[in-house]
Symmetry: C2
């Protein structure tokens, strides 16, 4: 009989989803970044829950304040990808023995800081004794039904865009977990990308207003995996011709003889948005995101064939459908 350690996180989720009755009139299918219910007047209540566990989501060097803030930000990022303003969060906390009163306050302040950065509030929660630190957040937002961007709308010919450069978190994790060195001018940027993630909320809200985006996802499981997810949900493929490698990741890769493409495609714990954009509305999308202080990088096109391809220096290679399942493993999905 298969044990959970062989199944992996995504198979476990599929097993559980397979046991659930489906709500009539589901507004967002199982497995999208968020869930939603129709609340009338053309609006949706959008909810998401995501749990942070100390031993898999909190690398050494991350403070309790940062861990609590991250637990909030990773939930907000999913609403950002759908173009939904988060309003209220709840936090259920599993507290291991040995934490002090001050530790608890650091957690409380980190939760509050994460929420307030995005104009949301933590309204309540629950605590329990647990062996690991567990910070399980859920978030609620309300949006116009017509604004919510699902994973399923990408069409052949659409542009593929991201809201930032990739590879910094996978480099930063190698610094924190494997003690790899980095020169001071890039070290802080790489490490901070892990310790202080940012949700691209302004960008997601701006995109939702333009109606230019046909599909969107956050890239918390890595760029390649996010492409794979949109591919499955929209029944399309991708060809990338402009890999968004962060300069800092490029430098870091060079120093350690690492492959910058690997760092960029198969990292994780990144919270950039990956969106597909109708070509005729590209300029609207670009302008909307720039107006709120962000930018869009066009990285490729959506294709009819369900393959993931990367064109680089004259040759075309396959992008593997693999991603980051927490810190333990870079594994192939079966």
């Amino acid at each position: 009989m298969s044990l959970v350690e062989e199944l992996g996180e995504r198979k476990i989720i599929d097993l559980i989803l397979g046991c659930l009755d489906q709500m009539p009139n589901m507004q967002v299918p199982f497995g999208d970044d968020v869930s939603a219910i129709d609340i009338g007047h053309g609006k949706l209540a959008v909810i998401k829950a995501d749990m942070l566990v100390g031993k898999t989501d909190v690398p050494q060097g991350m403070s309790l304040w940062q861990a609590a803030r991250k637990a909030v930000v990773m939930n907000i990022s999913d609403l950002a990808a759908k173009g939904v303003q988060p309003l209220a969060l709840l936090a259920s906390i599993g507290v291991p023995r040995g934490l002090s009163r001050k530790d608890i306050q650091h957690i409380g302040k980190g939760l509050n800081a994460g929420a307030r950065e995005y104009n949301a509030y933590v309204l309540g929660g629950d605590t329990n004794e647990a062996s690991d630190l567990v910070i399980s957040c859920s978030v609620l937002g309300i949006c116009q039904k017509r604004h919510l961007i699902r994973r399923s709308g990408a069409k052949p010919g659409d542009y593929v865009a991201v809201t930032g450069f990739f590879g910094k978190t996978s480099s930063g994790l190698k610094i924190l977990l494997e003690n790899l060195s980095a020169p001071p001018e890039i070290r802080e940027e790489l490490v901070n990308s892990v310790l202080m993630p940012h949700a691209r909320l302004r960008e997601g809200l701006a995109l939702a207003q333009t109606k230019a985006a046909t599909a969107s996802i956050d890239s918390s499981d890595g760029l390649a995996w996010s492409l794979h997810e949109i591919s499955l949900a929209s029944n399309v493929g991708f060809v990338l011709d402009n890999l968004p490698v962060a300069q800092e990741a490029e430098k870091f890769a060079k120093i350690h003889g690492l492959d910058p493409v690997e760092l960029t495609l198969y990292g994780g714990e990144e919270y950039e948005l990956l969106a597909t954009i109708q070509p005729k509305l590209w300029q609207d999308a670009e302008k909307a995101v720039e107006t709120v202080g962000g930018f869009l990088i066009k990285i490729g096109r959506v294709m009819k064939e369900k393959t993931l391809l990367l064109k680089a220096v004259g040759k075309t290679v396959s992008i593997e459908a693999r991603g980051w399942e927490h810190f333990k493993q870079l594994r192939s999905e079966t």
Copy 2:
């Protein structure tokens, strides 16, 4: 420096709440059974999160299916106490190594069963590897603003009522955890009260329609503690003259030389509703609850003085403000 094991669950919650910015126009104060935001058109979106942890919330004898169902029911119970229909749940699951594919399906089916019993649906969730089994649920419901019953409205002179008899879960836990014996005719009822808790949703919804209830809470931390919570939130006291001791608990107490009053007042993991009712609307409340197949037991009155008293066999004794903080301890609140 105080460690969490000395602080206890409620102090930890207070420490965290003390770190949070308060949302303007809070619809329900911090620390009530649920949180809520105004969604316009006279309605509230009501949310609640509550986490079940294997080692403190799952006694031996409880299956994974039952544990998952309980994780849902304990969330629904909080909405029931406020008179709010639950619609959608999310479940974040911390999965210990060694669980099988079948175990995961038992968890999925238990989640689904808990939700469907109350006409709600599980819409999604998240899994992570963790040392303990953790099932962290959150629930969303929508209600008319005027229907939500807070903890804070109890007035001197109101009747105090509960939706069932008490003492069964504390007896059942003694059977499961301390291997105390019980005759077959009561054993199943006592053990099932722990393994298969029921939320009093029909009763809560019916009460909310009558507007007879001035305050309400679920009794998951025990009857005495629930009285204490309403006392704090409403700035009132209570005098009970009709302790709702379950017959089965009375029998069990007699067999083992236990105090039935102790079992009734200071148990926990019970999901009866405790409500205060305007005397002039008592008959409406009673009838509404009976119409949906339940009943109300009048157990005492609300008083101006902030004390908790029990009148029994000619004498009046104090009810202590103590409750059940999980399975480990019956402790005094400092």
